[in-house]
Symmetry: D2
């Protein structure tokens, strides 16, 4: 594996590496870690790879690695958002499989173009919607598909964070700076950074597509060009009602992604911050908790677990599950749960619809993708 | 105290009695428990009062009790919603203090008319927004007023119930039947039954008024004339953002009213189902839990508690706090935390605005009251 | 009802009154609130009773009330422990039913003597082991009796409090002072004040009797004459293993009584500080929560609830359930769940065995009672 | 790194590998995975290592790897308990660093002999007391050392599991079989398998040594030769009181290790099943939760975290922290938090004292080590 992006100071690069390597099937051996050649070299040293394989830019890397007998099979794209499209496209065209950090691109148009590249190159392509890698999320999805809730009626997904409650971007916080800058992030701030995670999770678990939305995107911290607080009313296929809220100014919240899904027969709750439990709410005021690693789990959750019950698994293991699926894909297997370019198109369509709906106060907007 | 309403099969009548009598300052001695005289007599027997004081209708009761030397001071109005206005008006005009079950009336016009009656009769009038009686809600309100969160930026209030997920109104469930019938409930279903509790709680704790809203009221169970699932986007004074959601078809939920308030400096969470704790979320990923009955409480919460820390108080004690305040009012004291007719006007304005906004898809609607 | 004890500054007197009156079947009308006549009068004023019925001592009260046509039926004994025996004996002999604060007496000998008085007078006698009044405790007991856990194997009961972590008895804290004074409390400190609650709860829920114990009673705060921290190893009939721990120096704990019971088939957990839930732990890493007020409850819990699911009930309602049972007894009904003098004998036997076992380092001690 | 043990069907071997490799500083390249050469080869294939380095026995491996230019630096001993001593001794004497699964040996005598080998060879030696690798455990230890609780008074550590509630050893469960067999496990069953984890955690967090104990070891499932349920009363230096309980027949429990430590000023709680939080209980009924990854953490916890707050880390990351420390040791650094042979001696002394105390009903036993 090679990284594009993830140089010194990056958060998500080392996470990708750790997740990719966790099961011993993938190893980081190369990278174009920064568009600045010196920083890319520095990145290579930090990751402990062969200095010859810390490339000054991704074009050079793709060409060089293609020629090596021990060259890479896959690339992970972990740059800020605006560079995802070009890097993924180049890597696919050079014949490599691509795991891209979400979002796939910064526009819906680009996402559709990328889908064509994926189709024409026929290379594996996946998006790191990490939360879909959690065993209990997969358990919930399987149970809903099997009818555990009856027909779904109502979906509430909420994703509060507080780390941007203060204007960190005015200081030296690189993570904050690019996220509030449309040039790096695209048209969505909070909606694009974390709202899409909530959106993907809702569609992933329910198996239902959102068809219409009404959005209220706001900017709470003065001076920001992008939204940092989001409320979106949803309508899924079949008229199922939903609400998606997300915020990066919810002071004191860490990473509180929570989904609640209500059906005719029962409800279901999953909370990212205690990820090894899934709660089923029965109509007789009895709730049932399915714990990670236990015998009550179905096959999708079991194969996504590494430890026995009561030995908590977390974010890194969820992420590693995406890479495990991806390794299966590369080796010719199937990975039906792994988000691909379709999820990327859906997310970009969602972001653009939400931004449009919010700008024009146009009420409900239908969307496809 | 006398009850108007609360006859055989009623839920809230016995709750009012128990709450009113908890501190030994008020006693139920009379009632017009039903508009059916036979059922009113039966109610009187169930409550164990003097049979002579179980009246066939409230007009008779008000006249008779006024003439007794040991007559009542106050009336609690616990009928279905549509009868609140007439009963409260009559009682006030007859010189009695009135504790009314919420909502005050079924229309904003009536609420304003009732406000004039309250003003002209100068009798104590209160509304049972029970959740404002919880000690930790009062603690939260006091802390926000004292600046614990910095300026408030975002208010998330959610009130899920599941008991109407099935069409109980088609069976013998009296509680369900009147709630889904516009003739008894007014124009709001879920929004009027529980949405207003969430609304009142949000204004009560933050001290901020909602100025604008956008609503998505839905009817999930087929055949209902009123909404049973609600999402409302809010704007409070000063542009503070908010989301209010409520549902009576959230299968498996009991009475999950939860409020989260985020300010510049910190966040705050209170959950009705574990009411003796208030969580303060600090920006350094440290959260603080203030427990009921403890030394960390301020005066408003202390005087609203009856037991030492760790001996949980619940819904009945919260309700009794409203009656304790009301007894203070009757005895000439002040009760600044007790919801009065202003809260009633606010709630009716909220319901009507939400219904209008949802019907016309008109986008944001400003409202006053 | 009359109180013996519960004068100015008492904690448990007002609690008894509130609990007794909650359901409108019992009313406080008389009392010998203190052994000091002036304080008894002051108590009478605080409770708002007829001044003539605030008696200077309990002998006078019992004699006077027996002669009144509207005299009391029952007495609640709420003095410090050392006075329970004499007061209860006198009241029973005077023909009154007695609800006594636990413990029944301060010695096992006295408890057995009291049992003879109860038998010979044939008057209702009950002990306020409050925690047995919680609906979900009763639910747990019924489920265990019905075999939900299979045969019970292991019982863990823990009761941490922190309020005596500092030497409050050296200040003006009356509650602390009598509890650490053997003359008022008897031979047990923490073991007698809260350890017996844990003991009773364990026997009540499992339906099993403790037959043997080994105890480690300690005094953590210097200068105290009685234990303030307790660990007791238990053996129940059939060799079932158990551990009982209690402390009043567990800084920061409020009233954390928790019981966990493990059987061949499943486990069970109940925590007093969130009393409206009972957890059943299944062997497939699935746990089930039974919530208060819901349709999953059996009859014992249902008749012990006053509110629908999700409207939390707490300590006062649990206490009121004991009085409700007691009212049934007075009116000639049965109250099989209500702790009586047998529970009092068991508790005194437990305290004396634990104190003996701890003093002599004698290893395991068998006990009966 | 090479494994000794961890062949097909083993649980802990793959966990060691994953933990060791997580940070990219250690790689599994060799192993004597079983005492059966064919199974060792099979293990090598499963781990994906060079077949030449899957050795038929550990003696061969140690000799061969010493001769390789790219030979290993360290060995992880992951056999059943009875083989730990010989394998670790041989590896140390062959010049390798040793990470051993706990317990160090099966007797105190062996543990002391091993300590001499560690001293004479001067090679790094560590024991996988995994729970000491959790960031919040390290945070708690640091806070206690800094006086956050005042002087410690009471330590309650409890470790319930339920997986051996049924006699799995009679079936094909290899994990169960060796644990209940004294020939593989040593004299302790539950006390040696998980009791020592609780013991180590208690000493690790408080910085206090246990000096005396009284034990009640029991066998609940018929036919077992070793204890499966444990209660131990503890006395730490300075007379600090403690209780350690552990069980493998607590039906429905997963891996519920929980420690509560009470000091003069405050209490502290950590629960393994939600490991990213540490609760501080203040005496004013205010509790404070320190969350993983946040700014409130001290240096020991920070350097033990890989993700930002709200992205849960779990058991594997805790385990990896031990390996990270171990890598520091190998590279000549310090690792003051890493359990070494001293912890092994302490644990063996604890097990032997507990077994002796329980067998003879001898009351309190002092112990050293």
């Amino acid at each position: 594996m090679a990284l594009i992006g993830g140089g010194p100071g990056a958060f998500i690069g080392p996470i990708h590496r750790l997740a990719a390597e966790m099961d011993g099937r993938i190893a980081l051996v190369a990278g174009a870690f920064s568009s600045d050649p010196a920083r890319s070299r520095e990145g290579g040293m930090q990751y402990g790879i062969d200095p010859d394989r810390a490339y000054p830019d991704f074009a050079t890397m793709l060409a060089s690695e293609r020629d090596r007998i021990d060259g890479i099979d896959m690339v992970a794209v972990v740059t800020p958002n605006h560079a995802h499209f070009a890097a993924a496209t180049a890597a696919l065209k050079a014949g490599f499989a691509v795991m891209s950090d979400k979002p796939a691109t910064t526009t819906l148009t680009d996402a559709r173009a990328l889908a064509e590249v994926v189709a024409s190159t026929d290379r594996p392509y996946a998006l790191s919607y990490t939360y879909s890698g959690y065993p209990l999320v997969r358990e919930g999805r399987a149970r809903i598909a099997a009818g555990a809730l009856g027909s779904v009626r109502r979906v509430m997904v909420d994703y509060p964070q507080g780390w941007l409650a203060a204007p960190l971007e005015r200081g030296a916080n690189k993570q904050a700076a690019w996220r509030v800058d449309p040039a790096s992030s695209g048209v969505g701030g909070c909606i694009g950074d974390i709202g899409v995670h909530a959106f993907h999770l809702a569609e992933f678990m329910t198996g239902l597509r959102v068809t219409e939305l009404l959005a209220d995107l706001g900017t709470v911290v003065e001076g920001r060009a992008l939204d940092d607080d989001v409320a979106v009313l949803l309508r899924f296929e079949g008229g199922v009602r939903g609400v998606l809220t997300a915020s990066q100014v919810a002071t004191g919240e860490r990473n509180g992604l929570t989904i609640r899904i209500y059906g005719e027969k029962a409800g279901m709750v999953w909370r990212q911050e205690q990820p090894d439990r899934l709660d089923i709410l029965h109509s007789d005021a009895r709730s049932e908790t399915i714990w990670g690693g236990g015998d009550a789990l179905g096959v999708d959750a079991r194969v996504s677990s590494r430890t026995p019950g009561g030995h908590p698994e977390g974010y890194l293991e969820a992420f590693a599950n995406l890479y495990r699926d991806f390794a299966d894909l590369i080796q010719g297997g199937a990975a039906p749960l792994l988000p691909g370019i379709d999820a990327g198109i859906r997310s970009m369509a969602f972001i653009e619809a939400a931004v449009a709906a919010s700008r024009n106060c146009a009420g409900w907007i239908k969307f496809e993708g």
